[in-house]
Symmetry: C2
Subunit: 149 residues, 2 copies
């Protein structure tokens, strides 16, 4: 009797594959998943203080200092003075990485289409609904156990 993998196992596998894929895509570049996560947050939020980025990325402010240092050195972001608060800096994407992130967004959409294409047409809406429901449930479980951070 063959054990079919659980739905959970498949979801974990998908998570692993995404991670490996990203690591592979960034090797030989100054980027990494953590750094791209920060760039992605900047693309969504626009110029932000490091405190804000720490919240958006879910890491410590100290960690943001290191990530921004690296991204500044590689020319992906720029630190500019905050217009009204002289303690703070605003971090923003450079022109180069604005274009880079726009391309990444397109690739992202392409991959979405590719994955959806792997699902038979009559299952697609159910998969959309189901995966969204699972994400919401998991999110609720995390909030319940971990406290509403």
């Amino acid at each position: 009797m063959i054990m079919e993998p659980l739905l959970l196992d498949r979801l974990l596998q998908i998570g692993d594959l995404f991670q490996k894929d990203m690591s592979r895509a960034f090797e030989g570049t100054p980027l990494s998943t953590a750094r791209v996560h920060l760039l992605w947050a900047l693309q969504d939020a626009g110029p932000s203080t490091q405190q804000t980025l720490a919240r958006l990325c879910g890491v410590s402010p100290r960690n943001i200092t290191g990530l921004v240092d690296a991204l500044e050195a590689s020319g992906h972001v720029r630190r500019t003075p905050h217009p009204t608060d002289r303690r703070a800096v605003l971090v923003e994407l450079t022109e180069t990485s604005t274009a880079y992130m726009a391309q990444m967004r397109r690739d992202h959409a392409d991959l979405d289409a590719e994955l959806l294409g792997a699902v038979s047409p009559e299952d697609r809406e159910a998969v959309r609904r189901g995966v969204a429901a699972i994400a919401d449930r998991l999110s609720a479980l995390a909030a319940a156990e971990g406290g509403p951070s």
Copy 2:
């Protein structure tokens, strides 16, 4: 006009939530996702050499040395001499962590049921099929680009 999140975004979100959930579950213990990954491999494969574990976990042999060192110190695994090859060691679960992993397997199944419960009954089979198809497609893409490692 509201932008609905892509299926891909939902899957990425699920991956993140799993990671945060595990990190939270292991904080304050000597365990971590990398260490539990190794324990999980041992539960599936039985006593194994470190070379084998390196392949199963997808990390370098050197890395396994460190993980096994930590897990041995915390009493989760044991190094025993290989019966026929005096260069090699066999790593095996201790009694304590055999029980611990059995419990984790039950929790795993419970979570699977919980997540499936979040999906409406008429969507469940489609979601199972669809997620499996996505995992397979992603796996094929990784193999095509990354070379058949």
